[in-house]
Structure formats: structure tokens, C-alpha cells
């Protein structure tokens, strides 16, 4: 079951701009996420990806434009990293109970589903990067969110780890029917199940579907067996260079797939 293009939007941004300390960070961004959809946002460092996520969860207000969230929208948010101060003791089980207490059986089941049945009593600061990532995802899924936001969730993982993580996300989408908004700094290799890829650099540079290239022998060699099923290539079609300070809105509306300047 793929995403329905007719489903009502969970999140809809129209011409959203955000200034931070007087500096423009996002410039007239349009973005729609519908139920069941997987949307991947790629962009280099400093392209405003995190600010976009912060705007969607409501941590920063748009300076201009409109940002609509579906009524009663619940968001499961997986942060880029978790900076718990070492002065705070926190077991994995206690962390899973934030911000609401839940029955122990529910927590145990969630950790079991995440493939980490025995970590409940461990300190969260003792987990490896991959384990922490799975705990963060399990916690975000406890509420049965409408929208799962993953902010550079694969940053600390190697490529097999990323492939496994993407496989898990696909399974979550299939099981729960939630939408997924994935943020990644990897400009070329995206989650194959993405319905839509948006390349961000302050403004929306280009957007489209990822290319399913896993059947090509070259890419199969590049990704390795097993990973080719979850990874895909996104081919950019920019009409302008990445480093220009002030994008001309006229050029980005007409964007033929001309060249790939992000390579």
C-alpha cells in the first residue's frame, strides 16, 4: 500500500520563511506530507534542514508563509543526537517513560520490537550509537504517531547500519501507516522507499522521486547485497549552483533535469 496522493495533508508548508537572529535560514519553502508518505529531505550542512524540522514540530515560528498541521496531529520525533548531561542518571526504561508513564509491559514490548530486549535497566549513556538510535525510535513510536520525524537519524551509522535502519522504517510505515519525514545530509543516497525527495539549501533546490537503480549491477556492487533493497539514488536536477546567496525564484520554478551539480 503506497501513500495516497489524495489523503489530507498531515503537514503543509506554503511559502514558509524562517529568519534566525535576523539571518534568513529558510526561504519560501513549500512542503506537503500526507498520511503514509515517506518524504526525504536532503541538503548540505547549514542548509536549514534542522530549522525546517524545528518549524514543523513547533520549536520555531515561521517569519513568513503558512504552516498547517493536521488537527490533533501527533508527532514522533527522533533527534539527531541525545545530549543527556552525564550528571543525570537515566535508565533506558525510565527514558521510555518520558514524558508519560506507561505500563512496564508496553515498554518491554517496544524494546523487544526494537531488537533490544535486555537494555531496560542499562544507563542510556552506556548504549552504543546504534542501540541509542533504536531506543529513540522505539520511544517515538510508543504514541502511535501520525508523523514520524527522523532528524539525521542515520548520522552515526555505517552503510549496513543505515540499510538496516531504513528497512525498519519501511516496516514501521507498513505496520502503523504513519507518514515519515526523513532528514539526511547524504545528497545522493536516500531511502529507497521515499515517495518524494526534497533537496534543500535554504530554499527548495529541486524535488522529485528517487531512482530505483538497485537492479543495475553497478549499484548493486556499490551498495552490497541486502542494502540495495533499501537504498536508492537521488539524481539532482538543479539549474543553478549551490552556493549562490540569493536564489532567483524564477529559475527554480522551471527546473528541467539538466545537470547534477551536487555530485
Amino acid at each position: 500500500m503506497r501513500a495516497s496522493a489524495n489523503a489530507p495533508p498531515l503537514v503543509e508548508l506554503v511559502g514558509v520563511s524562517v529568519d534566525l537572529d535576523g539571518q534568513p535560514v529558510l526561504d519560501r519553502v513549500d512542503l506537503t506530507v500526507r498520511r503514509g508518505q515517506i518524504v526525504t529531505i536532503v541538503g548540505p550542512n547549514g542548509s536549514g534542514k534542522s530549522t525546517l524540522v524545528r518549524a514543523i514540530i513547533g520549536a520555531v515560528a515561521p517569519t513568513a508563509g503558512t504552516l498547517r498541521r493536521g488537527p490533533g496531529l501527533t508527532i514522533g520525533y527522533v533527534p539527531q543526537r541525545l545530549a543527556i548531561d552525564p550528571s543525570m542518571p537515566m535508565t533506558v526504561a525510565r527514558f521510555m517513560n518520558l514524558p508519560r508513564r506507561r505500563p512496564g509491559a508496553e515498554i518491554a514490548a517496544a524494546l523487544h520490537d526494537a531488537g533490544l530486549p535486555d537494555v531496560g535497566r542499562r544507563q542510556i549513556t552506556d548504549l552504543s550509537g546504534g542501540q541509542l538510535q533504536r531506543v529513540l525510535l522505539a520511544r517515538a513510536l510508543l504514541d502511535g504517531p501520525d508523523l514520524l520525524i527522523l532528524d539525521e537519524a542515520t548520522a552515526g551509522l555505517d552503510q549496513p547500519g543505515i540499510a538496516a535502519f531504513y528497512a525498519r522504517i519501511e516496516q514501521v510505515r507498513a505496520d502503523q501507516g504513519c507518514a515519515v519525514l526523513m532528514v539526511s545530509h547524504d545528497l545522493q543516497i536516500v531511502m529507497r522507499a521515499s515517495d518524494h525527495v526534497v533537496c534543500l539549501n535554504g530554499h527548495v533546490c529541486c524535488e522529485g522521486a528517487p531512482e530505483i537503480v538497485s537492479s543495475l549491477p553497478g549499484y548493486r556492487r556499490l551498495f552490497g547485497d541486502g542494502q540495495a533493497d533499501t537504498l536508492a539514488v537521488y539524481r539532482h536536477h538543479h539549474t543553478h549552483s549551490h552556493d549562490h546567496p540569493d536564489p532567483d525564484p524564477a529559475t527554480r520554478s522551471a527546473a528541467p533535469p539538466a545537470r547534477d551539480d551536487a555530485a
Partner: protein, 267 residues
């Protein structure tokens, strides 16, 4: 049978230790140590205002502490780092308080009691105020506990869950103002943040969860108050500083115990 003033002193000290327990944990977790200092120093300006204009002491102290908290929360991140602002406010208000008091006749000796506290001079009225303050702090923090923990762990995750971190910050600001007001008669403006930070720091190696750490902080703070009072009684030393010395010794013991334990585990 201990003297009445010793019983009052012990009850006042326990009240302060209990109020400091959950708040001190947040001060440590959120790296607000210097912020506790600034609020406590600002309290002296509140004392000066209360002496100069014959205002009730505790409301004046709470009001000034809240104004300082508002200034820090509102101004931080614009042009100056938070610790710079806190430095300006802490020492600016402390100095202003000392200068203001010098205009008021005959209170110089009294001021010493607010700088260093005088737990043995605590009256029944003070005791009631301190325990009301303690009750208010514990109730406020228990009410906001979950949201505060979430906002401390990750502001973004808190926002995504519908929690407003700036609102939760104000729960801490109010609790801090109440604790400073409660503590100014007991350990004085200069040593209140010691009661916030040291028991919490001593409790850290003993705890596995935030709640466990808050509980252990309350126990250690209470032990420190009893130990300090007893030592000051026998050695005839200033009581407030002796209590702080007692909790500092508990901190050293806790650190030693935890490093011994981890050394044994490694072997």
C-alpha cells in the same frame, strides 16, 4: 533534651534540604549552578529593599529573585552569553544590595545574618514560612516533573510532545526564588547555592534514575544539616558554613566510594 532553638534550627534545615533536593537536581542537570548563585545574590537586594522601605522580607526577596530570573531568561542569547549576563546580574545586584543597606541606619550587623544566615535565630514564624515555601516548591516541581525532565533531556523532543520548555523554565525560576527566600535566614545568600548543588552532586553516583537522585539528594541534605548542626554545637563554629562543610564532606565520601567501586569492577 535539646534546646528549643536547636529543634527549630533542625526543622528549618530539614525544610531547606528537602526543598533543595529536586530543585538542586535540576540545577545540576541543566548546568544552572551559576544561575542559582545569581538569584541568591540578588536576594540581598531584596533584603535591602525590605529593610529600607519596611517591606515584608520574604515577598521582597521573592520579587527581586523573580525579576532577575526574568531578566536572565529574557535576555540570554541576544548579545551576551548567559554566564556573562549572570555575572553582571549576580555581582551588580549583590553590590547594589550592600550599597543600599549602608543608607539604612543600624542594620549593618543585621546584614551579616542575611549574607551568612543564622539558623539558630530562626523563629516560629520563620519556620512556618520556610515549610510553606518547601511545600510550595515540592508541589510545583511534582506537578511539572515530567515536562521538566523531558525539556531537560531534549528541548526538541519536549516541543514535539507538546511541552513548552520556556514555560517549564518558569516553574524552575519560581521554585528557585522560593528556595532562596526560604534559605536566606538559614545559610544566607552566599551559601544557598551550595545547598542546591553539593547534595545533588553527592547523590549522583548513588542513583540510577532522576527520581532516585532527587530522593538521595534529600537524604544527604538532611544528614548534612544534622551533622553540621551537631558539629557547630560542639565546636562552637558558625552554623551555616558548618552545614555546608558537612554536605561537602558527604560529597567527598560519595566520590571516593564510587571511584573505589568502579576501580574494583575494572579489576
Amino acid at each position: 533534651m535539646p534546646a528549643d532553638f536547636m529543634i527549630r534550627a533542625a526543622l528549618a534545615g530539614i525544610g531547606l534540604a528537602l526543598a533543595c533536593a529536586p530543585l538542586g537536581c535540576f540545577v545540576v542537570w541543566r548546568r544552572m549552578a551559576y544561575y542559582g548563585d545569581a538569584t541568591a545574590h540578588a536576594a540581598l537586594l531584596g533584603v535591602a529593599l525590605s529593610l529600607a522601605f519596611a517591606l515584608p522580607l520574604y515577598p521582597a526577596v521573592i520579587a527581586v529573585a523573580l525579576v532577575v530570573a526574568g531578566l536572565v531568561t529574557g535576555l540570554s542569547g541576544r548579545h551576551h552569553a548567559t554566564d556573562t549576563l549572570l555575572g553582571v546580574l549576580a555581582h551588580g545586584t549583590l553590590a547594589a544590595g550592600l550599597v543600599a543597606v549602608s543608607f539604612v541606619q543600624g542594620v549593618r550587623a543585621d546584614l551579616m545574618a542575611y549574607l551568612f544566615g543564622d539558623i539558630l535565630a530562626v523563629t516560629r514564624g520563620d519556620l512556618l514560612t520556610i515549610w510553606l515555601g518547601t511545600g510550595a516548591v515540592l508541589a510545583l516541581l511534582a506537578w511539572r516533573w515530567s515536562g521538566l525532565l523531558m525539556a531537560t533531556v531534549s528541548p526538541e523532543m519536549a516541543v514535539a510532545a507538546g511541552i513548552r520548555p520556556r514555560l517549564e523554565q518558569w516553574a524552575l525560576n519560581i521554585a528557585l526564588a522560593l528556595v532562596v527566600a526560604a534559605g536566606i535566614r538559614i545559610v544566607g545568600a552566599l551559601l544557598i547555592s551550595a545547598m542546591l548543588i553539593i547534595p545533588a552532586a553527592a547523590a549522583r553516583p548513588l542513583a540510577r534514575t532522576p527520581e532516585g537522585m532527587a530522593l538521595a539528594t534529600g537524604v544527604l541534605g538532611t544528614v548534612g544539616v544534622f551533622g553540621g548542626l551537631t558539629a557547630a554545637w560542639h565546636a562552637d563554629t558558625p552554623t551555616g558554613p558548618t552545614i555546608v562543610c558537612a554536605v561537602a564532606i558527604l560529597f567527598v565520601l560519595s566520590v571516593l566510594a564510587s571511584s573505589l567501586r568502579s576501580a574494583r569492577q575494572r579489576r
